[in-house]
């Protein structure tokens, strides 16, 4: 199997996010970064396939200089090679532009399976994987929590949780899957894995290398533009009424009437 996993570097999940001063972006000072947690399920699934079947695992990201760390992390986990698409002209792009760029890179090889996370936890748009499937003309199953490969048939059985039931989808490979929590339990890198990651091949590509029209992607090609990012309204601290039940009710009614003025 030739497997590609598209990953994104995102701010660590416990980060305190603030809008930047121009209100167009998030303020990146002091943030630390991780591999998008949903992408980790894709990496893990690829590695598990590789443990069973002769396979190669390529991790692909489009991102800034810093995103190389995320690729190295995946190489440390056991991926075989990495592709880093990096170009200043990609700034300000939307999900469609990202998908266009990734598609061009993915088309250069024949992959049997392409994994994405079901969404990136930073902008939560959940669009890139599906866009790529569409652009590549491949079938896809989104938000999978189980994958059984039938390599001799060239097919796979993917499960996804839908309202009140599990949907099992029989799909022909090559195909795109977006990964949901529950698919597997991602491993931690081993110490030798970490030390060897640096020797594994990491290819850096620009838009020119890929032959992507620079006007079709980045800020210029964006079909949607973020107008502004606002911090959520600060919630005032709650009010705990800690009395016996009948007094509590009385107090609650009083507060609703006199303070909240909703009664």
């Amino acid at each position: 199997m030739k497997i590609a996993v598209c990953i994104k570097q995102v701010p660590a999940t416990e980060s305190k996010i603030k809008p930047s001063s121009d209100g167009k972006e998030i303020d990146r000072t002091g943030l630390s970064y991780v591999v998008n947690p949903y992408d980790e399920f894709g990496v893990e699934e690829a590695l598990r396939i590789k443990e069973r079947l002769e396979s190669s695992v390529t991790v692909v990201t489009m991102g800034t200089e810093r995103a190389e760390e995320a690729l190295r992390t995946c190489l440390a986990l056991g991926a075989d090679q990495a592709i880093h698409i990096k170009d200043d002209l990609l700034r300000g792009g939307d999900a469609y532009g990202v998908a266009l760029v990734l598609t061009t890179a993915l088309m250069k090889e024949h992959y049997d399976i392409i994994f994405f996370g079901k969404q990136a936890v930073d902008d939560d748009s959940g669009a890139v994987g599906i866009h790529v499937a569409e652009l590549m003309g491949l079938p896809h199953v989104a938000v999978i929590n189980k994958l059984d490969l039938k390599p001799e048939e060239g097919r796979a059985l993917a499960s996804r949780q839908i309202e009140g039931a599990t949907e099992m989808v029989n799909i022909k490979l090559p195909a795109v899957f977006t990964c949901q929590k529950g698919l597997n339990e991602p491993r931690y890198a081993s110490l030798p894995g970490i030390m060897k990651a640096k020797q594994k091949p990491l290819t850096t590509l620009t838009l020119a290398d890929l032959g992507v029209d620079k006007d079709a992607v980045g800020a210029k090609g964006a079909k949607l533009v973020v107008d502004c990012i606002k911090a959520p309204r600060v919630r005032s601290t709650g009010n705990i009424i800690d009395k016996n039940p009948s007094e509590s009710v009385e107090e609650l009614v009083r507060l609703l009437r006199d303070e909240a003025k909703v009664l």
Partner: protein
């Protein structure tokens, strides 16, 4: 030029272990401490990451790294849990290191491989009721009887005494011979004549089992002697030198935990209408803690680098352990002070860090013994 920066790989490793410690080790640490329960569930996870054979070559199932990476790992684990740090430290730097460094090829295959892969845990038993700091005064005996060594005696305070599958133990092969009559042996769990005695109820590192071991007419093959007969004490001293770097790293981790918790608390806690972090008295404590932690870490790194470069590191290891462990006591004590009454409660992690830090001043040579070692090197 001195390079104070870790390599890219070492930074990646540090980040990885930090993440692992935070998500896997930290959550259960307070509960394990309270109940004195060994972190059995962590062993397979740490084994898969090769944390149980850090400095053992890959050929023998280890990670093939060195003292520096061991120090990085132990600081990160110590940051959240002293007990797990002690388990990893003694397994790696005492038992496994002793068998790897002084064992025969056959012993490496038979013992180092399962230890480094984390299939078995290792213990290292030197201390006895009558011999702690004066370790060479041990009374346990080993007598050759045909093809077997027959061992009699008792060990005290053995880390992993109750949980280890493989124990390296020191016995006298020349009673009355002092340091010159001591030899090291390897004993497997389940060997008739080996019983686990009292498991101690302790101040700190409570999730790490500290147990007495009794050897009663225990017979082990002649081939279970490690190193040369009668030269075991020389080997013991070298192993302890290496182990001390690890204890220093664990102490740095505990102190860093104390500092990070204190910074967090000082920003949140308000008194006199201000976060207590606004008060200079609190700021001074934080500054002192931070400076001392940085100094201790550099001492630990220096000792580790000397060891990895094959240079003499005895003095550096003792200095690092002495300074780091005493520093950790100061830092964890100040952390409780910064937390006020809350810091004195079981709910506060700093209460545990304070109790855990104390073992660093005692195990693998007390602070008094470190000063003796250092002075001896200075004055020779």
């Amino acid at each position: 030029m001195i390079d104070f920066d870790l390599s890219e790989e070492q930074k990646c490793l540090q980040q990885m272990i930090r993440n692992f410690a935070k998500t896997e080790i930290s959550p259960g640490a307070a509960d394990r401490d309270e109940k004195m329960s060994f972190p059995h569930e962590l062993i397979p996870k740490m084994a898969a990451m090769k944390l149980l054979g850090i400095a053992i070559p890959e050929k023998y199932g280890g990670a093939g790294l060195g003292a520096m990476e061991t120090a990085i790992v132990l600081e990160e684990i110590g940051r959240v849990d002293g007990a797990t740090a002690l388990i990893v430290a003694s397994h790696n730097a005492l038992c496994t290191a002793h068998l790897y460094r002084f064992g025969t090829e056959a012993q490496r295959e038979r013992y180092v491989v399962p230890l480094a892969k984390g299939e078995k845990l290792g213990a290292w038993a030197l201390t006895e009721a009558g011999s702690g700091s004066d370790a060479a005064a041990l009374q346990t005996t080993a007598v050759l009887d045909g093809d077997a060594w027959v061992i009699n005696g008792s060990k005290l305070f053995t880390t992993q005494g109750a949980t280890a599958g493989i124990t390296v133990m020191m016995a006298s092969t020349l009673p009355g011979g002092g340091a010159g009559g001591i030899s090291a042996f390897v004993v497997e769990k389940g060997t008739p004549g080996l019983t686990v005695g009292k498991v101690e109820n302790k101040l700190g590192v409570r999730a790490s089992d500290t147990a007495a071991l009794h050897f009663e007419d225990l017979r082990i093959p002649k081939a279970n002697l490690i190193g040369a007969c009668g030269e075991g004490f020389q080997d013991v001293l070298q192993i302890l030198d290496g182990g001390r770097i690890g204890i220093g790293a664990m102490a740095v981790g505990l102190a860093r935990g104390a500092l990070e918790e204190s910074i967090h608390y000082a920003k949140e806690r308000e008194q006199f209408g201000h976060p207590i972090a606004d008060f200079q008295a609190i700021q001074a404590k934080l500054s002192d803690m931070s400076s001392e932690i940085e100094a201790a870490r550099l001492l630990v790194y220096r000792a580790a680098l000397l060891k990895d470069h094959g240079d003499d590191f005895k003095l550096a290891a003792s200095e690092a352990k002495l300074f780091a462990s005493e520093m950790a006591m100061r830092a964890t004590s100040q952390a409780i002070q910064i937390h006020g009454g809350v810091g004195y409660l079981k709910e506060a992690p700093v209460e545990r860090y304070f109790r855990d830090a104390k073992i660093c001043e005692i195990g693998e040579g007390t602070s008094e013994i470190q000063r003796r070692v250092i002075a001896k090197e200075l004055l020779r």
